[in-house]
Amino acid sequence: MYKIGVIGDKDSILGFKALGLSVFPVTQPSEAEKVLHELVKEQYAVVYITEQIAKDIVKTIDLYKDNRLPAIIPIPGNQGVLGIGMCGVKKSVERAVGADILFRDE
């Protein structure tokens, strides 16, 4: 039995609470890091982080990249899409292929 967590600023993630996900409102990147470390230790299979928070703690997120669980997925917050999630996809392509072959045309 695994859980789903959402980290981000309060306004962006409030709605997820209604769906039964665990919501962790944070304001500071350091706070988010602490929460993330704790969630990894507990039984969380998926952790969504708003891009506004994710952009400051990329290093911590990368730390858990090669673990099977949890999947740490950036999602857009209420301030718009920053492109961090896409950047992650791009990065894994670059890592696997050696060059970026999917986003060439953009």
Binding site: I4, L14, G20, V46, D66, V81, G85, V93, R95, A96
Partner: protein
């Protein structure tokens, strides 16, 4: 290319030849693995990109709905309304083996299946915009989970491809050339010894014939 420092003996030669055969076989297998991983990865990552675009778009819609809901209602009431979730999501994680990479498969169940019964609040003092926002959000959730599964798989596959590629290259450009060079070196050394031996024997024979002839003459 540097050769491995070994004694140029016949035994060493057989040993190296065996190693070369194993290395070639391993190289071929790893190369096949890499190609297949790459094919699956590219499929996956293409889907991943599309799905992410879709999810991001849907989430933006949710956020704008929420923005309106927040504008219509006071934030206290909004928070109060969402304080106690009615819906519960339970997630089961199993693993799927893709080319010896264990990727997670997420399978989720919501507690109540009724789509109209997801609102954790009474409708008296909340606005209709909030209902809309929650409804769209619950629509996005399955896609978000699929995205999570896909993205994690892509990350894990990328790691495996990187590892496999490194192994293939190490075999192809280091180990196999080194072994072939060393085998060549040992064969040449053995041949040279053989020739040296032959010449020596011929010389000895000549000397013996010479001695015998002189003995006959006396």
């Amino acid at each position: 290319m540097a050769i491995i420092r070994v004694n140029p003996t016949r035994m060493e030669l057989t040993r190296l030849k065996k190693r070369l055969v194993v290395a070639r076989r391993g190289h071929k297998l790893l190369k096949d693995k890499r190609d297949e991983l790459m094919r699956q990865f590219l499929d996956l990552v293409r889907k991943n990109k599309e799905l992410r675009e879709k999810v991001e778009e849907m989430l933006m819609k949710v956020h704008s709905n929420f923005l309106i809901a927040r504008a219509v209602m006071s934030s206290e009431i909004l928070e109060e309304a969402l304080m106690f979730p009615k819906q519960k999501v339970s997630l089961e994680v199993s693993t799927k083996n893709v080319m010896s990479v264990d990727v997670p498969v997420l399978d989720f169940k919501t507690q109540s299946d009724d789509q109209s019964n997801i609102y954790p609040y009474g409708f008296a003092n909340t606005s209709g915009e909030l209902d809309g926002a929650i409804a769209t959000l619950s629509e996005v959730l399955p896609h978000m989970l699929e995205l999570a599964q896909m993205e994690k798989s892509a990350q894990l596959l990328a790691e495996e491809i990187e590892k496999t590629r490194r192994r293939v290259n190490a075999l192809e450009y280091v180990l196999i050339p080194q072994l072939t060079e060393t085998i060549k070196y040992i064969t040449m050394k053995l041949d040279e010894n053989e020739r040296g031996n032959l010449t020596r024997l011929m010389k000895v024979k000549d000397m013996m014939i010479e001695q015998a002839r002189q003995a006959m003459a006396h």
